[in-house]
């Protein structure tokens, strides 16, 4: 097994290849990435020292703040695929959280309640003619995480109503919240000073050093913030959490069927994205020492969106580069370009050239960028997924080898000998409007059996699978799995219990690699959460490495069909290989019961035979299988028992040979005259 699990390019040939490469390429990709990141960080740290211009450092600090916002929006839009058009609202919430907690804006009358807070140095008692008042002076450093938490809370609050909505409607609801927040800020002057803007927001102190209005200290805080957020983004992306987000982005139903809880991970994305904006808002308002509602309106949300579209949605480096480029364009390039045009105008005595102010056209440029990127380069400047080169001709035309199925790696659960009925369905009825898709169906799947469900199109076969896997909550009857009623469970809970499935119309995650697709199948069997993913404790590293290893082993079950293509995006695979990948993904969840919906559809006879054999070997290893199949020879060859559905009713059940001769079955399949003949 271990040999198959290794990456293909190894041994002498691989070594020779590495020797010929230029020196940098001899480093491992990881080391190279770290080296590059360290260089960029060093350049960022050296910038204010080498370039003393305070205005430029200030502009750079602002640009970095927007890079931080872009990173946050990238989690929501790029990773989880939830288009948020009101993202500036969370920026506002973070800004006003600090703005109120460290300014002269709110000054309640002093009383005993505030004393403990005074000891903690969060508030001060100020002597006033009309009686003492409270002055809030919460530390900037304390407010950074608090603002992030407050914004995250609102992220969940605003995200929750959108959970059921389709993408563009979700965008509209977030736009609505994005409009409401600045209006509420404007209309509650007692707290925010309304349209006049907060005044006297305290500058941060660092061990007695007052940041004041110098640009450099804010610049360094912004560099640190962006560096931390990039690290967090990168680590989340390459973890169980990030894979869950991307699975939801690619296909929410398939993600749920593979064990990802969509509600939980969507809310997590909203919270995480909002938290980034909350912390950034605090930095921004501390730097400006004021805030007005106009700073957080729709154009700001769009600007951040333009940044991530430009840089590359889902790409951590991409969105940072996108944000920095656009900010620099705004504050430097356009100004320079305008003054060059003015100079040219003076030179050639053309008046209108001297009047051009390109800086005012920045929003026009944003619009053009959005349209041009969508039309010609949707993946952005630095795409999130690097295109894997196609297989070499030799690899493409390699003789297919069939994998060994003598053992199933990492799948211990199904080899336990369970006896009796694994799945028991009683009186299952599903109605679509007036149409009964399933009518009082009883069905039992014995442990370690292979059951085939057959029937004409529209007879309710896929409906049966959907009901079992929790995709059709509106049904009556009972569905028991290993003794437990599962009829009311959500899809991801059904998978956790040990039922995995494939779909009739193949629902892979098309923009993720084959390996990632399979690893997502393990979601329910892995435990790394957000904190673990960010900290990368030894336990989490080990789990991740084992998961990848196991995913490769599962791919190896299909011989050299999938393994050489492990890093290819699933959408680029051939039809048969997509079917195989979907089965591999289902197997990765360590199921006890595997539901296959027309697994051989669209395969040629040789491929069908190969897959049928593989299904049989899976069963020999102890896996219970229920499959929907139209090819009767496959059914006869594989199944212990055949269940026939017609118009939502079970019309026959028994061993394949008996069912094949059943008159009612023949009538359902071939028509009345055939039955009489």
């Amino acid at each position: 097994m271990a040999e198959i699990g290794k990456p293909p390019r190894s041994g002498v040939a691989g070594l020779a290849l590495r020797m010929r490469a230029p020196p940098l390429a001899r480093l491992s990709p990881q080391l190279r990435a770290r080296f590059g990141a360290a260089l960029v960080l060093a350049a960022a740290l050296a910038f204010p020292i080498l370039h003393g211009n305070d205005a430029d450092i200030d502009a750079a600090a602002n640009a970095l703040a927007f890079a931080a916002l872009a990173l946050g929006l990238n989690i929501v839009v790029g990773f989880a695929g939830l288009l948020d058009l009101g993202y500036a609202a969370f920026f506002a919430i973070g800004a006003y959280a600090y703005g109120v907690a460290a300014s002269w804006q709110v000054q309640p009358a002093w009383n005993g309640f505030w004393e403990p807070f005074q000891w903690l140095d969060l508030v001060a008692r100020v002597h006033h003619a009309g009686g003492d008042v409270v002055h809030f002076q919460v530390s900037f450093w304390l407010m950074l995480p608090i603002s992030a938490a407050v914004a995250a809370f609102f992220g969940v609050l605003f995200g929750a109503p959108t959970l059921r909505l389709k993408g563009d409607y979700l965008a509209i609801v977030t736009l609505g919240f994005g409009e409401i927040v600045p209006i509420v800020v404007r209309n509650t002057p007692s707290l925010t000073n309304g349209a006049m803007g907060l005044n006297g927001v305290a500058a941060p102190h660092f061990f007695g050093y007052d940041f004041g209005i110098r640009a450099t200290p804010y610049y360094y805080v912004a560099v640190a913030l962006v560096a931390v957020l990039m690290l967090v983004s990168r680590r989340l992306k390459d973890s169980r959490v990030g894979r869950a987000w991307m699975a939801i982005r690619e296909d929410e139903i398939a993600a749920a069927a593979m064990g990802v809880n969509p509600v939980r991970y969507k809310l997590l994305a909203f919270a995480m994205g909002a938290a980034f904006a909350g912390a950034t808002g605090t930095l921004y308002v501390a730097k400006l020492q004021t805030a007005t509602p106009e700073m957080f309106m729709f154009p700001v949300s769009v600007m951040i969106l333009v940044m991530i579209v430009f840089g590359g949605m889902g790409s951590v480096w991409g969105v940072v580069v996108g944000a920095l480029l656009l900010q620099m364009l705004q504050s430097w390039f356009l100004e320079d370009l305008s003054s060059w045009l003015h100079a040219l105008g003076r030179l050639v005595h053309v008046a209108w050239l001297q009047r051009i102010e390109l800086a005012s056209s920045i929003e026009l440029i944003f619009g053009v960028i959005l349209v041009v990127m969508m039309l010609f380069r949707r993946e952005g400047l630095i795409p999130a997924t690097r295109r894997t080169p196609a297989l070499a001709l030799a690899e493409q035309s390699a003789q297919p080898t069939r994998g060994g199925f003598d053992h199933l790696p990492g799948i211990g659960m199904i080899t336990q000998r369970e006896s009796g009925r694994l799945l028991e369905i009683k009186d299952l009825t599903v109605n679509f409007g007036g149409l009964a898709a399933l009518r009082a169906v009883d069905l039992a799947v014995p442990a370690h059996g292979i059951i085939a469900v057959i029937g004409p199109n529209g007879s309710g076969k896929s409906t049966l699978f959907n009901a079992v896997t929790g995709l059709l909550p509106e049904h009556s009857g009972t569905i028991r799995f290993a003794g437990e009623e599962i009829g009311r469970l959500k899809p991801h809970q059904v998978l956790e219990r040990g039922i995995a499935r494939t779909f009739q119309n193949i629902r892979l995650f098309p923009n993720l690699s084959v390996l990632e697709n399979v690893t997502i199948g393990m979601h329910a069997r892995l435990s790394t959460g957000t904190v673990g993913a960010v900290l990368r404790l030894p336990r989490n590293r080990r789990e991740e490495a084992e998961a990848r290893e196991r995913a490769r082993e599962i791919l190896a079950l299909f011989g050299n069909r999938l393994l050489p293509r492990a890093d290819h995006v699933a959408g680029s695979l051939s039809y048969a290989n997509r079917r195989r990948t979907e089965i591999a993904r289902a197997l990765a969840s360590q199921p006890k019961l595997l539901l296959l919906d027309e697994p051989t559809a669209g395969m040629n006879p040789a491929e069908t035979l190969e897959l049928a054999e593989q299904i049989k070997s899976l069963n020999r290893l102890g896996l219970t299988i229920m499959l929907i199949e139209h090819k009767l020879d496959v059914v006869v060859n594989l199944a212990d028992k055949v269940v026939v559905l017609d118009h939502g009713e079970k019309i026959a059940e028994g061993p394949p040979e008996t069912v094949r001769r059943n008159e009612e079955v023949i009538r359902a399949y071939l028509g009345r005259s055939a039955a009489l003949a």
Binding site: G81, L83, L85, P161, T162, R164, L165, K166, G167, D168, Y169, A171, I172, V173, L175, G176, F177, E179, I180, I183, V184, R186, N187, E252, F298, V302, L305, V309, S360, S361, E363, L364, F366, G367, V368, I369, L370, V371, M374, L375, R378
Partner: protein, 309 residues
């Protein structure tokens, strides 16, 4: 004025606003019904059209509010202005579809919507950079005529607005119900793929939806200018979002829904402003938008649901 007559006056105002929102909402609903796209460009097609309307009237030599016309002269001027504005708006809508959206047909998810945000930004800034940020005095050839019913005043321009809106909506309804292209539109809205296989030229249907929707936005824009006597580069955003809310409230994809929703939003805006406070109007309208989408996504009359299938 008594309390009741103030409210009744606000109802009259609300109906005028509502008629305008309804015309604008129809553009959202027609396009959404056919290609399931929320068209942000529509906001600023409206705004650009209001400038076209202004230029059309100025082309006829009408500036400001002092040159009131009557009789055939007035009818001719209005006919020309509506025709020119609606035609220009329709052509703009078709151009947007042809050059920025058709290449993206079939692209997944929110790609189309993001593109329309970009187009909207381009239109917005082209007007801002060429015409400028100041608001423009909109020519108004209508004579000042008022009728008083109890404490309520109805102006001639309001009667005109209602009449034009009613005519256009009836025309649209007839077009969708009675013509061959209208039938093709309804078929495409139900199932574009099936319609294509039955020989419907889907591209033509989409172009028609954009043309009609944008032309109606053009009419709404002219009405806006005549009603408020000004226009500016910013008028698209607020009016557009309110009209979009109207389309959602009525049930996106439903032509009748857009009309009902438009009138309701108009009334909510004026009565809400009167009874609560104008500064909270936007919050009220956005709350309606959010609440309808979350709790009754099909709206009042919609069939298509914006939740996941």
């Amino acid at each position: 004025m008594s309390e009741t007559s103030v409210l009744l006056q606000q109802v009259v105002n609300g109906l005028s606003l509502g008629a305008m929102y309804a015309l604008l909402a129809l553009g959202f609903t027609l396009v959404y019904g056919i290609i399931e796209l929320i068209n942000f460009a529509h906001f600023n097609v409206f705004m650009v059209s209001s400038f076209v309307g202004m230029w059309a009237l100025q082309f006829l030599g009408i500036y400001g509010q002092s040159q009131a016309l009557t009789g055939f002269a007035l009818a001719g001027v209005l006919l020309f202005a509506f025709f020119a504005t609606m035609l220009a708006a329709g052509v703009l809508g078709v151009a947007i579809e042809r050059f920025s959206l058709r290449p993206l047909r079939g692209a997944s998810g929110t790609t189309g919507m993001i593109t329309t945000i970009g187009v909207s930004y381009i239109l917005f800034n082209v007007i801002l950079l060429t015409v400028g940020a100041g608001s423009q005095n909109f020519p108004d050839p209508l004579p000042v005529a008022r009728w008083h019913f109890g404490g309520v005043t109805v102006q001639l321009k309001e009667v005109l607005i209602w009449g034009v809106a009613l005519l256009l909506m009836l025309g649209l309804q007839l077009f969708v119900d009675r013509t061959r292209l209208g039938k093709a539109m309804r078929a495409t809205a139900q199932d574009a793929e099936a319609a294509r296989m039955m020989g419907v030229n889907v591209d033509r249907v989409v172009v028609t939806a954009f043309f009609l929707g944008s032309a109606l936005a053009g009419a709404a824009a002219l009405i806006f200018g005549l009603y408020y006597d000004y226009t500016s580069f910013i008028v698209g955003y607020t009016a557009g979002l309110r009209a979009f809310t109207a389309a959602v409230l009525g049930g996106i994809g439903s032509v009748t829904g857009a009309m009902v929703g438009g009138l309701l939003i108009g009334l909510i805006e004026t009565l809400g402003g009167q009874l609560i406070a104008v500064r909270w109007t936007d919050v009220i309208i956005f709350s309606i938008l959010v609440l309808v989408l979350v709790f009754a996504p099909a709206g009042l009359l919609g069939r298509a649901s914006p939740t996941k299938s």
